[in-house]
């Protein structure tokens, strides 16, 4: 039985590593075809053998960054109400609602936004088709909010209750307690919530696939269409398997894998500092 348990852990670990090497090996023809730098920063022009995925990296960054700009303030506000301003039953109801919201399927957001938000954006701004960075950032910001709120609330609740009671005993209002005590104490937890939100936003496929328009060019404004790394993988899957264009999706997968790895390391650094800070 012990052996079985060890084997299971080994399989989990090896499979995760295998995904990395799969991206690397299957994308290899492309890596060896041109310079790595050209692949990352060169333009996308399959006709002349250019497979730079920079437009997709920029698209992913723009949409995920926009989602954070929308989602972070929204989640902070809701988390403040849930953790500090509301009490008792309201707090519990809010928290369960938020947790349930995190279960709303991605395609449902995409579907509703496609029918209602895209035409709205189109008619409001009189430019573009409505399929834009703005549209997908708005929806993606809403989508990552429940996850971020749950993390923010647990960070704010994690602040030493003795310090909170001491602040209250000194006559601090909930707002003062939040502003001068909990915010600074919970900062690492809040930060890791934002990093997790960024990870979810970068990794999401269907919001940008359905709402961002998917044209390959460097995004120049929020009303322009863009293609993300994830959407690129989903779209190119339909092309034939041996072209270099097809292999560019492994490069996208590779970049996404490295990005995830980096985020995990950042999260660990933040949590590590957090724990060291608590001990002192």
């Amino acid at each position: 039985m012990t052996r079985l348990i060890r084997a299971a852990a080994m399989v989990t670990g090896i499979c995760t590593i295998a995904v990395f090497f799969m991206m690397l090996i299957l994308g290899w023809p492309l890596f060896s075809h041109g310079h790595l730098l050209a692949l990352l920063v060169g333009g996308w022009n399959p006709g002349s053998g250019q497979f730079g995925i920079l437009p997709m990296i920029a698209g992913s960054t723009a949409i995920a960054g926009g989602a954070l700009l929308v989602g972070t303030p929204l989640s902070l506000g809701v988390a403040f109400v849930t953790a500090v301003f509301a009490r008792g039953r309201i707090r519990r109801v809010l928290l369960s609602c938020v947790r349930l919201m995190s279960g709303v399927p991605t395609v449902v957001y995409g579907f509703v936004a496609l029918i209602y938000l895209v035409p709205f954006i189109r008619s409001q701004f009189h430019s573009g088709s409505g399929f834009s960075i703005l549209t997908s950032s708005l929806v993606l910001g809403l989508l990552i909010s429940p996850t971020m709120i749950v993390l923010f609330v647990s960070a704010l609740d994690g602040v030493d209750p003795r310090a909170r009671r001491a602040a209250a005993a000194l006559g601090a209002t909930p707002a003062q307690r939040l502003l001068y005590l909990q915010l600074s104490e919970a900062l690492p937890g809040l930060l890791s919530g934002v990093v997790m939100g960024l990870g979810r936003a970068m990794g999401d496929t269907f919001i940008s696939l359905m709402l961002a328009g998917n044209s390959i060019n460097m995004p120049g404004g929020v009303l322009e269409s863009a293609r993300t790394l994830t959407a690129h993988i989903a779209l190119v899957m339909a092309v034939d398997f041996h072209s270099l264009e097809f292999q560019s999706i492994y490069l996208c997968g590779f970049v996404l894998y490295l990005f995830t790895f980096m985020l995990v390391l950042i999260l660990r650094a933040v949590n590590h500092r957090f724990q060291r800070g608590r001990v002192q």
Partner: protein
Amino acid sequence: MKRFAELLLVIFSWLALLVFAASFLSIFVVLLLRVRGLDAVSLFFGDTPPVDALLHGLPVFDGIYPALLGTVSVVMVAVLCAVLPGIFTGIYLAEFAGPWAHRIVNLLVDVLAGLPSIVVGLAGFSFMVLLHNLFPGAPGPCMAWSALALGFLVLPYLVRTTETALQAIPAELRRTAPTLGATKVQNIFFVLLPFRAKDLLGGVILATGRAAEDTAVIMLTGVVASAPGMHSLFKQFEALPFYIYYMSSQYRDLAELQYGFGASVTLLLLCGLFFAAAFLLQSYVSFRFRGSSWLQK
């Protein structure tokens, strides 16, 4: 000035809550308005008589019954595949791993948890192609591949719930069985895991909900827009999230669009059910745990 900042913070927070609640409410209201008047029988079964579809496996062409059936079966197979490796890895992390092994496996599980589902789907697809090239008889895109890839995707949920459930067990209980002569493995399987069985079940249900909503993995490994007949592990299949995606770009008239909304509501209810069940189980456990604190005294 400081008073003003405090006031501003309160106003901002409640405003944010208002925007958040309004956004979600508008999604739900829109969904409800759009499915109003939709006949449930024709939504699920199209023109096929429901009894024939359910009992005799008659193909359904214009309904979401095949998609619902496909989602339910692929998710069930996925979780069945993942449940043992997931729980065992969790046990390993909580009870067996040395410091270095713990660090490495922990890191890898974190990475897997953070991987975009499309990357997992791409890996599943590549593995399928690879195997197909090595053994020409190996199955192509089908439900079995989707289930395996989905199982891999939800593995971290199972690992983490098992690990945290085991770690939260009070030391008294942890030591009781070994004192009476039980081995480590016996202690884990007959005392510790049963004690947190509801937590584990919560984790399994959460993983199920997560698998049911994912579209990217199945899109790369075996889902198709139309597979009206009986489902089999080694055939391509329909699934609700992919049906919704397909309908969003391919609908031809308002009736088909309404079917898309119907499928959205169905998927929403399905996932909501799984998430609600998972949270109920977990909060019930923590409640019971608080109630039984006399055990520790």
